[in-house]
Point group: C2
Chain length 123, copies 2
Amino acid sequence: MAMHGIVLFGHGARDVRWREPFERLAIKLRDASFGARPVALAFLELMEPDLPTAVGDLVAQGCDVVTVVPVFFGQGGHVRKDLPLIIEQCQALHPSALIKCAGAVGEDDAVLDAVAEYCLRQV
Amino acid sequence: MAMHGIVLFGHGARDVRWREPFERLAIKLRDASFGARPVALAFLELMEPDLPTAVGDLVAQGCDVVTVVPVFFGQGGHVRKDLPLIIEQCQALHPSALIKCAGAVGEDDAVLDAVAEYCLRQV
């Protein structure tokens, strides 16, 4: 059976507290699979690890398939241009594994519904 | 009765498609209040309008209270340092209205749950 890992890919920031929601998200995903599914964080800039490092770690842990989820609200240049190139590099580095890329989480309707509900709780 | 407006505050990006989820979110919020609650978008950089313009528009529409919701995953320098200063400017420009600021949407547990569910649907 294929071992399937997830990389939560965020922009990164100078302020270390910026990564807190990403850490919480990783914990939620690990809990959901009872620890059976490897979950890693990766960042485009200003924070470590970068995506090739995170993908390499998951492949080294035995993942045959790695899905990169862009934890971005919108699909701008980072998601539409920078990310496909990095995924291509990762795929070339690990030809035995399949490196897939999901759409940005902010494009998902259920995520937007949850954000809208949050907004309505603030007013 | 006080008229309460919402500003969805995002980072902004060069790629115009980046703002799509923000537009969808604004529509969801307008629909939820049957159009009774003014909702505006505002961006920190690279996109218009900026926050003072959006807040000014809502106050001009008659809002007594404006809640700014940072549509960011993490609370980094933009949310913790830049945003409070801009909110302060907006408050000084509109002393008759109350300009409030919510926490970043990505800190909300229900939003993170929705993001986690999205991630699990990708694998």
